[in-house]
Symmetry: C2
Subunit: 208 residues, 2 copies
């Protein structure tokens, strides 16, 4: 006859997480994206993220120092994915203006695919990290990708000879804000109209 033993208390997931759940951090990040997309950043509770991941609050704190740390890791992951897409677009074999345009199209594609995350990350970047303010860090990451293109264009005499840092930040600020505005005012114009407008305007600002 089988040995009689008490059942474990009903928190098996926590125990497993501490020992044999290497993908807990990934599950928590996915759950956080889910919870943020549903209810926004403001009022986000660690309890809700843990519950949505099927993990305990204790497990959450194994992987994250708190809500800010969770949010910073989400933004780092999101920024990395967006950068990869835009970098690939910049790296095409076309001329500089076309590469710049490909980058904008890749940016808008990504924003459309991730519109809720985009708005939440844009509006909640005031977290101080070891690399400075989170929103500033993210924009500086994107500027790192855009700046070489601008410097190349200025050196080639195609783009106007302006400060490449200020140029990069201006273009990124413009794209980010107009893309976000459009996400919330889609009735205003089509994606094609938005894209033509942004390329035309920034082209006029850039080209000699």
């Amino acid at each position: 006859m089988e040995e009689i033993r008490a059942l474990p208390r009903p928190r098996p997931i926590k125990k497993r997480a501490r020992t044999a759940n290497p993908d807990a951090q990934r599950r928590l990040l996915e759950a956080a994206r889910e919870v943020i997309n549903q209810q926004g950043m403001s009022g986000l509770r660690v309890e809700d993220v843990a519950r949505c991941a099927g993990l305990s609050v204790g497990t959450f704190y194994i992987y994250f120092e708190g809500k800010d740390d969770l949010f910073a890791k989400l933004v780092v992951e999101y920024t990395g994915r967006l950068r990869a897409r835009v970098q690939a677009a910049y790296a095409s074999r076309d001329d500089l203006s076309a590469r710049f345009a490909h980058g904008l199209v890749a940016y808008l594609d990504f924003v459309e695919e991730n519109e809720k995350s985009f708005l939440h990350f844009r509006d909640a970047g005031g977290i101080e990290t070891n690399a400075g303010r989170l929103s500033t860090w993210a924009m500086n990451q994107h500027a790192e990708d855009l700046k070489p293109l601008l410097i190349e264009g200025i050196a080639a005499g195609i783009f106007r000879d302006e400060d490449p840092d200020l140029l990069a930040q201006s273009l990124l600020g413009l794209f980010q804000h107009v893309a976000g505005w459009w996400i919330e005012h889609r009735e205003h114009c089509s994606r094609e109209e938005l894209q033509r407008f942004a390329l035309e305007l920034t082209g006029r600002g850039l080209l000699r």
Copy 2:
């Protein structure tokens, strides 16, 4: 001999606030600005705001529904002050391009005077209000002021014939981001250089 009575429990301010403290809301808003400037938005606690105002948490909840409501009221007040400054600049008797430039200068002046608030409000606008997302509401307020100027310039054949909503949002997005970036990277260039750059770039985008 004076009547012997128990001393009130040490929360006299709360009692006064409920009855004879009509400026409690103003004091709480001022305290919130102070606390946010010192420690940022993330982790802001109602207790700290109330303590800094010399009022109780109970009094806080007489005037505000919660942290989001407090923050929304701060942004509304801040946006109103910034608009008044920029509106006055737009209303000068100069030509359109000069009025546009005056508006940018007034904007940068205000941002410099309120740099900490500016960064916090920019980065924490993801609060849903009865008027939509707080950051979107604020930018749409500023667009209301800029749009008539753009429409006038387009009608007069001075500015290029582009969609005035997209133009207004683009310019505001660019100004807001570059101003914020400069606040955090002042070593990069002087205020004069920033201003010249922004006017030159946006002028090229705007003018026919």
